[in-house]
Symmetry: C2
DNA sequence: TTCGCCAATGGAACGACGTTCGATGCATCG
DNA sequence: CGATGCATCGAACGTCGTTCCATTGGCGAA
């Protein structure tokens, strides 16, 4: 085995880091474990990144870039959303909505859903995107693309800025919540038993004090982890659409 | 000084923990520092809580309880929202909306804003609420109250459940994002210089590649940290209101 | 009152982590 | 062929959450 000048590369580190992060999560992934997986030493990683935080920022930006690429590919192919979400069609635009606005909102929906795909595959991504500000390259591009989709909406500039930040923020904020619930569900060896046990626990509370919880206990089987995220996203976009009516 | 049987109490620990967390944040708060502030030893804390994670869950639930109390007090006084947000009046309900729905949405808005007040005072709270599931007492009550406000909306049970989870999730998810940006802004000794430096940095990017970013650069002075959260909340509620029309 | 139990405490140590330091290898160039 | 500097890695440092265990002191039972 010919050892070249550099036995490590940033791409290799990123790939290994993603694998490890997917396996054990952000907190339990250690630089020692990552170095061992790369058949290397801990200190070597510090030549490529200033520390664990920066390494995770780099890795997150990589996945954000993949989401942007996927969104662009879908737009070229005239697909309204990733194929994973065919069961969640975009709501019909109202008659009062201009075609420019409707197209912009669909672009935003496609973009956010592409990012959400990455969040479902990598449960640590969303909370990491929260910690790292919009300093990275792809994070800025993401924000820019959301904003561009709003430029033909007829909203004034302040509203455009606000709406772009709300949408950008929504993805990572809501994504972090959904990811966390998915992590907890996976932590139990028997996911289904865990679910029913949770429901039974809720059922043990007084029906008098918690009438709503009791009333919806039977509705949980109709939901999956994606439905909350997508419904909330469509509520935001629906509210945004309504803003353009006045 | 007569040393009683127990020199520590859970209430004292909670109070000291909140103070320390507000001062240094969740990650830099150490059990050693907390014990020193209580003039006690590290291991003593383990008699009251199983570990740092559980301690933070207890503290978070305490603040969530304060938010619930404040919301109840406001409802008694017929106040639509905490006085901190008088500059952000609730949007007028549409004519097509039933009074039951409009009242429910206003209750939700008041509840979420009371929680947001605590998040602004304690920047570590939101991300902590994400990590801890809805197992704690007040977390369940919070969810229940959101759901009760939806029971007269005319939505079917599945939609009620979905909407209640979207709203509950929105607060912590979006709150974590807003809190993080506030932390970063405070980290710099000169907040205003930091802000203009950030804007200058964005301005350094190509106007051709980032037309939207350039167009809204001058609008930042019109926003504060609360506006994104509240606008997003009102967008969600507006979308929810629209759902009840059909 | 006295004794013994046990809730409650805290000093010390353990193991794991992120990070730093210094020495070493090795390709490249004069 | 020797010097330069990029790239690597073993070892150590400091700090953290956590655990162990001896000790304390109030309180009920005899």
């Amino acid at each position: 085995m010919a050892r070249t000048r550099t036995s490590l590369s940033l791409e290799q580190i990123i790939e290994a880091a993603i694998t490890t992060l997917d396996a054990v999560g952000a907190e339990k992934m250690t630089l020692r474990g990552l170095a061992a997986q790369l058949d290397s030493g801990v200190a070597s990683l510090y030549w490529y990144a200033a520390g664990k935080d920066q390494l995770m920022a780099i890795v997150s930006d990589e996945l954000l870039g993949r989401a942007l690429d996927e969104a662009e590919a879908l737009e070229r192919a005239d697909q309204p959303h990733p194929k994973q979400f065919e069961n969640y069609p975009p709501p019909e635009p109202d008659g009062r909505t201009s075609t420019g606005t409707a197209e912009g909102l669909l672009q935003i929906r496609r973009l956010v859903l592409c990012l959400f795909v990455q969040m479902l595959e990598h449960r640590w991504l969303a909370s990491q995107l929260i910690k790292a500000g919009p300093d990275e390259q792809n994070s800025l591009t993401y924000w820019e693309l959301v904003g561009q989709a709003l430029q033909n909406s007829g909203l004034d500039l302040t509203r455009q800025l606000q709406a772009s930040m709300v949408v950008s923020t929504y993805a990572s904020g809501m994504g972090a919540e959904v990811s966390q619930r998915a992590i907890e569900r996976e932590a139990a060896e028997d996911a289904e038993a865990q679910q029913t046990a949770q429901i039974d626990h809720w059922a043990s509370f007084s029906e008098e004090d918690f009438p709503f919880v009791h009333s919806v206990l039977g509705e949980f089987e109709n939901l999956d982890e994606a439905s909350d995220f997508i419904m909330g996203l469509d509520l935001v976009l629906s509210g945004l659409e309504r803003l353009t009516w006045d």
